[in-house]
Subunit: 240 residues, 2 copies
Protein backbone atom coordinates (compact mmCIF):
# COMPACT_ATOMS: atom_id res chain seq x y z
CA UNK A 1 0.00 0.00 0.00
CA UNK A 2 1.69 3.20 -1.17
CA UNK A 3 0.32 6.40 0.35
CA UNK A 4 0.19 9.46 -1.86
CA UNK A 5 0.94 12.77 -0.17
CA UNK A 6 0.04 16.00 -1.97
CA UNK A 7 1.71 19.10 -0.62
CA UNK A 8 3.63 22.16 -1.83
CA UNK A 9 7.01 20.93 -2.97
CA UNK A 10 9.23 23.82 -1.86
CA UNK A 11 8.43 24.05 1.84
CA UNK A 12 8.13 21.97 4.97
CA UNK A 13 4.95 23.76 5.98
CA UNK A 14 2.05 21.86 7.47
CA UNK A 15 2.81 18.90 5.20
CA UNK A 16 5.98 18.25 7.17
CA UNK A 17 3.98 16.90 10.11
CA UNK A 18 2.64 14.21 7.80
CA UNK A 19 6.02 13.57 6.17
CA UNK A 20 7.62 13.11 9.60
CA UNK A 21 5.02 10.56 10.68
CA UNK A 22 5.36 8.60 7.43
CA UNK A 23 9.15 8.68 7.71
CA UNK A 24 9.24 7.77 11.41
CA UNK A 25 7.16 4.68 10.62
CA UNK A 26 9.12 3.75 7.50
CA UNK A 27 5.90 3.91 5.47
CA UNK A 28 5.80 3.54 1.73
CA UNK A 29 4.71 6.90 0.30
CA UNK A 30 5.16 9.17 -2.69
CA UNK A 31 5.45 12.93 -2.20
CA UNK A 32 3.51 13.53 -5.41
CA UNK A 33 4.11 17.23 -6.03
CA UNK A 34 7.88 16.69 -5.82
CA UNK A 35 7.80 14.07 -8.59
CA UNK A 36 8.03 14.84 -12.34
CA UNK A 37 5.11 16.42 -14.15
CA UNK A 38 5.97 14.20 -17.11
CA UNK A 39 4.81 11.27 -14.97
CA UNK A 40 1.51 12.96 -14.24
CA UNK A 41 2.71 14.16 -10.88
CA UNK A 42 4.22 17.47 -9.76
CA UNK A 43 2.23 20.50 -8.73
CA UNK A 44 -0.39 20.03 -11.50
CA UNK A 45 -1.46 16.77 -9.84
CA UNK A 46 -1.94 18.68 -6.59
CA UNK A 47 -3.86 21.47 -8.31
CA UNK A 48 -6.13 18.92 -9.98
CA UNK A 49 -7.24 17.71 -6.55
CA UNK A 50 -7.79 21.25 -5.31
CA UNK A 51 -9.55 22.61 -8.38
CA UNK A 52 -10.83 19.59 -10.25
CA UNK A 53 -14.54 19.96 -10.94
CA UNK A 54 -15.13 16.22 -10.53
CA UNK A 55 -13.70 15.82 -7.03
CA UNK A 56 -16.78 14.84 -5.06
CA UNK A 57 -15.36 15.80 -1.69
CA UNK A 58 -13.00 18.63 -2.56
CA UNK A 59 -10.17 19.40 -0.14
CA UNK A 60 -10.00 22.98 1.09
CA UNK A 61 -6.18 23.08 1.15
CA UNK A 62 -3.10 20.83 1.23
CA UNK A 63 -1.79 18.64 2.76
CA UNK A 64 -3.93 15.95 1.14
CA UNK A 65 -3.48 12.20 1.51
CA UNK A 66 -4.66 9.50 -0.85
CA UNK A 67 -5.00 6.15 0.85
CA UNK A 68 -6.50 3.90 -1.79
CA UNK A 69 -9.95 5.29 -2.59
CA UNK A 70 -9.90 7.57 0.44
CA UNK A 71 -9.00 11.22 -0.07
CA UNK A 72 -8.30 13.13 3.15
CA UNK A 73 -7.22 16.70 3.79
CA UNK A 74 -6.12 18.61 6.90
CA UNK A 75 -2.95 17.71 8.76
CA UNK A 76 -4.65 16.64 11.98
CA UNK A 77 -7.18 14.43 10.20
CA UNK A 78 -4.51 12.77 8.07
CA UNK A 79 -2.46 11.99 11.17
CA UNK A 80 -5.54 10.72 13.02
CA UNK A 81 -6.25 8.37 10.12
CA UNK A 82 -2.64 7.24 9.73
CA UNK A 83 -1.92 6.87 13.45
CA UNK A 84 -3.05 3.25 13.92
CA UNK A 85 -1.82 2.18 10.48
CA UNK A 86 1.66 3.51 11.17
CA UNK A 87 1.75 2.32 14.78
CA UNK A 88 2.10 5.91 15.94
CA UNK A 89 -0.74 6.07 18.47
CA UNK A 90 -1.64 4.09 21.58
CA UNK A 91 -3.71 1.01 20.67
CA UNK A 92 -6.78 1.90 22.75
CA UNK A 93 -9.45 4.27 21.46
CA UNK A 94 -9.10 6.72 24.36
CA UNK A 95 -5.37 6.96 23.68
CA UNK A 96 -6.00 7.49 19.99
CA UNK A 97 -8.44 10.31 20.70
CA UNK A 98 -6.03 11.87 23.18
CA UNK A 99 -3.25 11.91 20.58
CA UNK A 100 -5.62 13.57 18.12
CA UNK A 101 -6.57 16.11 20.78
CA UNK A 102 -2.90 17.00 21.24
CA UNK A 103 -2.47 17.40 17.49
CA UNK A 104 -5.49 19.72 17.37
CA UNK A 105 -3.87 21.84 20.07
CA UNK A 106 -0.73 21.89 17.92
CA UNK A 107 -2.90 22.94 14.96
CA UNK A 108 -3.94 26.02 16.90
CA UNK A 109 -0.35 26.70 17.99
CA UNK A 110 0.93 26.32 14.42
CA UNK A 111 -1.55 28.92 13.18
CA UNK A 112 -0.35 31.31 15.89
CA UNK A 113 3.25 30.60 14.86
CA UNK A 114 2.35 31.30 11.21
CA UNK A 115 0.89 34.61 12.23
CA UNK A 116 4.20 35.79 13.71
CA UNK A 117 5.09 36.74 10.14
CA UNK A 118 1.57 37.16 8.76
CA UNK A 119 -0.67 38.69 11.43
CA UNK A 120 -2.77 40.74 8.99
CA UNK A 121 -3.24 38.50 5.95
CA UNK A 122 -1.65 35.40 4.48
CA UNK A 123 -2.22 36.96 1.06
CA UNK A 124 0.07 39.93 1.75
CA UNK A 125 3.86 39.87 1.91
CA UNK A 126 5.61 39.88 5.26
CA UNK A 127 7.20 43.17 4.20
CA UNK A 128 3.72 44.70 4.08
CA UNK A 129 2.90 43.76 7.68
CA UNK A 130 6.23 44.11 9.48
CA UNK A 131 5.01 46.65 12.02
CA UNK A 132 2.05 44.47 12.97
CA UNK A 133 4.29 41.39 13.08
CA UNK A 134 6.60 43.09 15.56
CA UNK A 135 3.68 43.90 17.83
CA UNK A 136 2.13 40.44 17.42
CA UNK A 137 5.49 38.81 18.19
CA UNK A 138 5.95 40.70 21.43
CA UNK A 139 2.65 39.34 22.76
CA UNK A 140 3.24 35.89 21.28
CA UNK A 141 6.53 35.49 23.12
CA UNK A 142 5.25 37.09 26.29
CA UNK A 143 2.31 34.71 26.73
CA UNK A 144 1.58 32.17 24.00
CA UNK A 145 4.77 30.13 23.64
CA UNK A 146 4.98 29.49 27.36
CA UNK A 147 1.29 28.59 27.42
CA UNK A 148 1.65 25.95 24.71
CA UNK A 149 5.10 24.54 25.57
CA UNK A 150 4.39 24.75 29.29
CA UNK A 151 1.29 22.71 28.59
CA UNK A 152 3.37 20.11 26.73
CA UNK A 153 5.79 19.94 29.65
CA UNK A 154 2.85 19.29 31.98
CA UNK A 155 1.46 16.60 29.69
CA UNK A 156 4.85 14.87 29.67
CA UNK A 157 5.10 15.07 33.47
CA UNK A 158 1.69 13.47 33.88
CA UNK A 159 2.48 10.71 31.41
CA UNK A 160 5.78 8.78 31.50
CA UNK A 161 7.99 11.87 31.17
CA UNK A 162 9.18 10.75 27.74
CA UNK A 163 6.14 10.55 25.48
CA UNK A 164 3.07 12.72 25.07
CA UNK A 165 0.72 9.76 24.64
CA UNK A 166 1.20 6.19 25.82
CA UNK A 167 4.63 4.64 26.34
CA UNK A 168 6.02 4.76 22.81
CA UNK A 169 6.61 7.21 19.99
CA UNK A 170 3.41 8.79 18.64
CA UNK A 171 2.81 11.33 15.91
CA UNK A 172 2.20 13.89 18.66
CA UNK A 173 5.86 13.43 19.58
CA UNK A 174 7.11 13.88 16.00
CA UNK A 175 4.89 16.95 15.71
CA UNK A 176 6.31 18.48 18.88
CA UNK A 177 9.80 17.75 17.55
CA UNK A 178 8.94 19.75 14.43
CA UNK A 179 7.47 22.66 16.38
CA UNK A 180 10.45 23.04 18.70
CA UNK A 181 12.92 22.57 15.85
CA UNK A 182 11.08 25.15 13.77
CA UNK A 183 10.93 27.65 16.61
CA UNK A 184 14.68 27.20 17.12
CA UNK A 185 15.26 27.89 13.43
CA UNK A 186 13.06 30.98 13.32
CA UNK A 187 13.81 32.42 16.75
CA UNK A 188 17.23 31.11 17.86
CA UNK A 189 17.87 33.83 20.45
CA UNK A 190 14.47 33.67 22.07
CA UNK A 191 14.47 29.88 22.20
CA UNK A 192 18.01 29.74 23.64
CA UNK A 193 16.83 31.94 26.49
CA UNK A 194 13.50 30.24 27.12
CA UNK A 195 13.68 26.53 26.39
CA UNK A 196 15.35 25.65 29.68
CA UNK A 197 11.88 26.14 31.15
CA UNK A 198 10.68 23.00 29.36
CA UNK A 199 13.37 20.33 29.89
CA UNK A 200 11.11 17.37 29.11
CA UNK A 201 9.94 18.98 25.88
CA UNK A 202 13.53 19.53 24.79
CA UNK A 203 14.53 15.99 25.77
CA UNK A 204 11.62 14.63 23.74
CA UNK A 205 12.66 16.74 20.76
CA UNK A 206 16.19 15.35 20.98
CA UNK A 207 14.94 11.76 21.34
CA UNK A 208 12.78 12.08 18.22
CA UNK A 209 15.76 13.51 16.32
CA UNK A 210 17.78 10.43 17.28
CA UNK A 211 15.13 7.89 16.27
CA UNK A 212 16.96 6.01 13.47
CA UNK A 213 14.36 6.51 10.73
CA UNK A 214 13.83 10.17 11.63
CA UNK A 215 17.61 10.71 11.75
CA UNK A 216 17.99 9.12 8.31
CA UNK A 217 15.18 11.29 6.96
CA UNK A 218 16.63 14.50 8.38
CA UNK A 219 19.98 13.70 6.75
CA UNK A 220 18.36 12.95 3.39
CA UNK A 221 17.36 15.16 0.49
CA UNK A 222 13.75 14.33 1.25
CA UNK A 223 13.92 16.78 4.16
CA UNK A 224 13.41 20.20 2.59
CA UNK A 225 15.52 22.80 4.43
CA UNK A 226 13.70 25.46 6.43
CA UNK A 227 13.26 28.60 4.35
CA UNK A 228 11.43 31.91 4.34
CA UNK A 229 8.45 30.60 2.36
CA UNK A 230 7.29 28.13 4.98
CA UNK A 231 5.70 28.16 8.38
CA UNK A 232 8.84 28.87 10.40
CA UNK A 233 10.71 31.88 9.02
CA UNK A 234 13.94 33.41 10.22
CA UNK A 235 13.50 37.18 10.24
CA UNK A 236 16.22 38.45 12.61
CA UNK A 237 14.24 41.58 13.50
CA UNK A 238 11.55 39.35 15.06
CA UNK A 239 14.08 37.47 17.22
CA UNK A 240 14.92 40.02 19.88
CA UNK B 1 -26.23 8.66 29.43
CA UNK B 2 -25.93 12.35 30.33
CA UNK B 3 -23.12 14.21 28.62
CA UNK B 4 -21.34 16.91 30.60
CA UNK B 5 -20.27 19.98 28.65
CA UNK B 6 -17.76 22.36 30.23
CA UNK B 7 -17.58 25.78 28.61
CA UNK B 8 -17.58 29.46 29.55
CA UNK B 9 -21.08 30.30 30.72
CA UNK B 10 -21.47 33.82 29.33
CA UNK B 11 -20.74 33.31 25.67
CA UNK B 12 -21.66 31.17 22.69
CA UNK B 13 -18.02 30.94 21.61
CA UNK B 14 -16.59 27.69 20.34
CA UNK B 15 -18.74 25.75 22.79
CA UNK B 16 -21.82 26.73 20.82
CA UNK B 17 -20.89 24.32 18.03
CA UNK B 18 -21.11 21.50 20.57
CA UNK B 19 -24.30 22.85 22.15
CA UNK B 20 -25.96 23.04 18.75
CA UNK B 21 -25.13 19.43 17.92
CA UNK B 22 -26.37 18.20 21.29
CA UNK B 23 -29.57 20.24 20.92
CA UNK B 24 -30.21 19.23 17.30
CA UNK B 25 -30.05 15.59 18.37
CA UNK B 26 -32.13 16.06 21.50
CA UNK B 27 -29.28 14.67 23.57
CA UNK B 28 -29.32 14.59 27.34
CA UNK B 29 -26.59 16.96 28.56
CA UNK B 30 -25.70 19.34 31.33
CA UNK B 31 -23.97 22.63 30.58
CA UNK B 32 -21.94 22.36 33.76
CA UNK B 33 -20.49 25.86 34.10
CA UNK B 34 -23.98 27.36 33.86
CA UNK B 35 -25.22 25.31 36.82
CA UNK B 36 -24.94 26.36 40.49
CA UNK B 37 -21.58 26.29 42.22
CA UNK B 38 -23.41 25.09 45.32
CA UNK B 39 -24.03 21.85 43.44
CA UNK B 40 -20.32 21.46 42.66
CA UNK B 41 -20.80 22.87 39.19
CA UNK B 42 -20.36 26.38 37.78
CA UNK B 43 -17.09 27.84 36.58
CA UNK B 44 -15.07 26.25 39.44
CA UNK B 45 -15.91 22.82 38.04
CA UNK B 46 -14.57 23.95 34.65
CA UNK B 47 -11.43 25.43 36.22
CA UNK B 48 -10.82 22.19 38.13
CA UNK B 49 -10.58 20.32 34.83
CA UNK B 50 -8.27 22.94 33.33
CA UNK B 51 -5.99 23.40 36.33
CA UNK B 52 -6.45 20.31 38.45
CA UNK B 53 -3.11 18.71 39.21
CA UNK B 54 -4.57 15.22 39.08
CA UNK B 55 -6.07 15.37 35.59
CA UNK B 56 -4.00 12.75 33.75
CA UNK B 57 -4.79 14.08 30.29
CA UNK B 58 -5.28 17.79 30.89
CA UNK B 59 -7.33 19.73 28.36
CA UNK B 60 -5.62 22.78 26.85
CA UNK B 61 -8.82 24.85 26.71
CA UNK B 62 -12.61 24.56 26.74
CA UNK B 63 -14.91 23.28 25.36
CA UNK B 64 -14.48 20.00 27.21
CA UNK B 65 -16.84 17.05 27.12
CA UNK B 66 -17.20 14.31 29.69
CA UNK B 67 -18.72 11.15 28.26
CA UNK B 68 -18.58 8.66 31.09
CA UNK B 69 -14.91 8.09 31.86
CA UNK B 70 -13.81 9.81 28.67
CA UNK B 71 -12.63 13.43 28.88
CA UNK B 72 -12.30 15.18 25.51
CA UNK B 73 -11.36 18.70 24.56
CA UNK B 74 -11.34 20.68 21.32
CA UNK B 75 -14.55 21.44 19.46
CA UNK B 76 -13.74 19.41 16.37
CA UNK B 77 -12.70 16.33 18.35
CA UNK B 78 -15.80 16.49 20.55
CA UNK B 79 -18.03 16.68 17.47
CA UNK B 80 -16.12 13.85 15.80
CA UNK B 81 -16.69 11.70 18.87
CA UNK B 82 -20.33 12.66 19.27
CA UNK B 83 -21.24 12.45 15.58
CA UNK B 84 -22.18 8.76 15.41
CA UNK B 85 -23.72 8.75 18.88
CA UNK B 86 -25.99 11.67 18.02
CA UNK B 87 -26.77 10.42 14.51
CA UNK B 88 -25.21 13.56 13.09
CA UNK B 89 -22.77 12.02 10.62
CA UNK B 90 -23.11 9.63 7.68
CA UNK B 91 -22.94 6.02 8.86
CA UNK B 92 -19.93 4.98 6.78
CA UNK B 93 -16.37 5.68 7.94
CA UNK B 94 -15.44 7.72 4.86
CA UNK B 95 -18.47 9.94 5.44
CA UNK B 96 -17.58 10.33 9.08
CA UNK B 97 -14.03 11.38 8.24
CA UNK B 98 -15.33 13.79 5.58
CA UNK B 99 -17.60 15.48 8.12
CA UNK B 100 -14.66 15.83 10.50
CA UNK B 101 -12.57 17.29 7.66
CA UNK B 102 -15.24 19.93 7.07
CA UNK B 103 -15.32 20.77 10.78
CA UNK B 104 -11.53 21.16 10.78
CA UNK B 105 -11.83 23.61 7.90
CA UNK B 106 -14.42 25.47 9.97
CA UNK B 107 -11.98 25.44 12.90
CA UNK B 108 -9.51 27.36 10.74
CA UNK B 109 -12.23 29.73 9.55
CA UNK B 110 -13.44 30.36 13.10
CA UNK B 111 -9.94 31.34 14.20
CA UNK B 112 -9.76 33.80 11.29
CA UNK B 113 -13.16 35.17 12.30
CA UNK B 114 -11.97 35.55 15.90
CA UNK B 115 -8.99 37.52 14.67
CA UNK B 116 -11.22 40.16 13.05
CA UNK B 117 -11.40 41.70 16.53
CA UNK B 118 -8.15 40.29 17.95
CA UNK B 119 -5.49 40.22 15.21
CA UNK B 120 -2.58 41.03 17.54
CA UNK B 121 -3.29 39.12 20.74
CA UNK B 122 -6.25 37.43 22.41
CA UNK B 123 -4.88 38.69 25.72
CA UNK B 124 -5.27 42.36 24.77
CA UNK B 125 -8.52 44.30 24.53
CA UNK B 126 -10.07 45.00 21.15
CA UNK B 127 -9.67 48.68 21.94
CA UNK B 128 -5.92 48.16 22.02
CA UNK B 129 -5.79 46.66 18.52
CA UNK B 130 -8.45 48.59 16.63
CA UNK B 131 -6.13 49.90 13.92
CA UNK B 132 -4.80 46.44 13.19
CA UNK B 133 -8.33 44.99 13.27
CA UNK B 134 -9.44 47.47 10.62
CA UNK B 135 -6.61 46.45 8.35
CA UNK B 136 -7.09 42.73 9.05
CA UNK B 137 -10.81 43.05 8.33
CA UNK B 138 -10.27 44.67 4.95
CA UNK B 139 -8.22 41.67 3.79
CA UNK B 140 -10.50 39.18 5.52
CA UNK B 141 -13.55 40.43 3.64
CA UNK B 142 -11.68 40.87 0.37
CA UNK B 143 -10.45 37.27 0.19
CA UNK B 144 -11.11 34.94 3.10
CA UNK B 145 -14.89 34.92 3.55
CA UNK B 146 -15.48 34.20 -0.12
CA UNK B 147 -12.82 31.51 -0.03
CA UNK B 148 -14.46 29.67 2.85
CA UNK B 149 -18.13 30.21 2.04
CA UNK B 150 -17.52 29.74 -1.68
CA UNK B 151 -15.94 26.43 -0.76
CA UNK B 152 -19.03 25.46 1.25
CA UNK B 153 -21.24 26.37 -1.71
CA UNK B 154 -19.12 24.10 -3.92
CA UNK B 155 -19.31 21.26 -1.41
CA UNK B 156 -23.12 21.58 -1.33
CA UNK B 157 -23.30 21.61 -5.13
CA UNK B 158 -21.27 18.43 -5.36
CA UNK B 159 -23.32 16.69 -2.69
CA UNK B 160 -27.13 16.78 -2.72
CA UNK B 161 -27.40 20.58 -2.66
CA UNK B 162 -28.92 20.52 0.81
CA UNK B 163 -26.40 18.91 3.15
CA UNK B 164 -22.64 19.17 3.46
CA UNK B 165 -22.21 15.45 4.14
CA UNK B 166 -24.51 12.60 3.21
CA UNK B 167 -28.25 13.06 2.76
CA UNK B 168 -29.29 14.13 6.25
CA UNK B 169 -28.44 16.74 8.85
CA UNK B 170 -24.87 16.50 10.15
CA UNK B 171 -22.96 18.54 12.70
CA UNK B 172 -21.16 20.17 9.78
CA UNK B 173 -24.53 21.64 8.81
CA UNK B 174 -25.27 22.94 12.31
CA UNK B 175 -21.76 24.41 12.43
CA UNK B 176 -22.22 26.20 9.12
CA UNK B 177 -25.56 27.53 10.44
CA UNK B 178 -23.70 29.00 13.41
CA UNK B 179 -20.96 30.54 11.28
CA UNK B 180 -23.35 32.26 8.87
CA UNK B 181 -25.63 33.37 11.69
CA UNK B 182 -22.68 34.75 13.62
CA UNK B 183 -21.29 36.59 10.60
CA UNK B 184 -24.71 38.14 10.06
CA UNK B 185 -24.77 39.29 13.67
CA UNK B 186 -21.27 40.77 13.60
CA UNK B 187 -21.23 42.13 10.06
CA UNK B 188 -24.83 42.74 8.97
CA UNK B 189 -24.00 45.17 6.17
CA UNK B 190 -21.24 43.14 4.64
CA UNK B 191 -23.24 39.93 4.80
CA UNK B 192 -26.34 41.55 3.31
CA UNK B 193 -24.25 42.59 0.33
CA UNK B 194 -22.33 39.34 -0.11
CA UNK B 195 -24.41 36.36 0.90
CA UNK B 196 -26.37 36.22 -2.36
CA UNK B 197 -23.18 34.72 -3.79
CA UNK B 198 -23.80 31.56 -1.74
CA UNK B 199 -27.48 30.67 -2.12
CA UNK B 200 -27.12 27.04 -1.08
CA UNK B 201 -25.20 28.02 2.03
CA UNK B 202 -27.94 30.46 2.99
CA UNK B 203 -30.67 27.91 2.27
CA UNK B 204 -28.88 25.38 4.44
CA UNK B 205 -28.58 27.93 7.25
CA UNK B 206 -32.32 28.59 7.05
CA UNK B 207 -33.16 24.89 6.99
CA UNK B 208 -31.11 24.24 10.11
CA UNK B 209 -32.84 27.16 11.84
CA UNK B 210 -36.22 25.55 11.09
CA UNK B 211 -35.25 22.08 12.33
CA UNK B 212 -37.73 21.65 15.22
CA UNK B 213 -35.21 20.90 17.97
CA UNK B 214 -32.86 23.67 16.81
CA UNK B 215 -35.78 26.11 16.58
CA UNK B 216 -36.87 25.22 20.12
CA UNK B 217 -33.31 25.68 21.37
CA UNK B 218 -32.88 29.05 19.67
CA UNK B 219 -36.12 30.25 21.29
CA UNK B 220 -35.07 29.02 24.72
CA UNK B 221 -32.98 30.60 27.47
CA UNK B 222 -30.38 27.92 26.85
CA UNK B 223 -29.29 29.88 23.76
CA UNK B 224 -27.01 32.62 25.09
CA UNK B 225 -27.49 35.79 23.02
CA UNK B 226 -24.61 36.94 20.86
CA UNK B 227 -22.52 39.52 22.72
CA UNK B 228 -19.22 41.36 22.54
CA UNK B 229 -17.32 38.83 24.66
CA UNK B 230 -17.70 35.94 22.26
CA UNK B 231 -16.40 34.87 18.89
CA UNK B 232 -18.74 36.97 16.77
CA UNK B 233 -18.72 40.61 17.88
CA UNK B 234 -20.67 43.50 16.51
CA UNK B 235 -18.33 46.47 16.21
CA UNK B 236 -20.00 48.80 13.71
CA UNK B 237 -16.70 50.35 12.63
CA UNK B 238 -15.63 46.93 11.29
CA UNK B 239 -18.80 46.51 9.22
CA UNK B 240 -18.21 48.90 6.35
Amino acid sequence: MTYELYYWPGIQGRGEFVRLALEAAGADYVDIAREPEAQGKGVPALMALLNGATVTRPPFAPPILKDGALLLAHTALILHHLGPKLGLVPADEAGRLWTHQLQLTFTDFIKEIHDTHHPIASGLYYEDQKAEAARYGAEFWKTRVAKYLGYCERVLERNDGKHLAGDALSYADTSLFQIVTGLRYAFPKRMARMEKDWPKVVALRDAVERQPRVAAYLASKRRIPFNEHGLFRKYPELDA
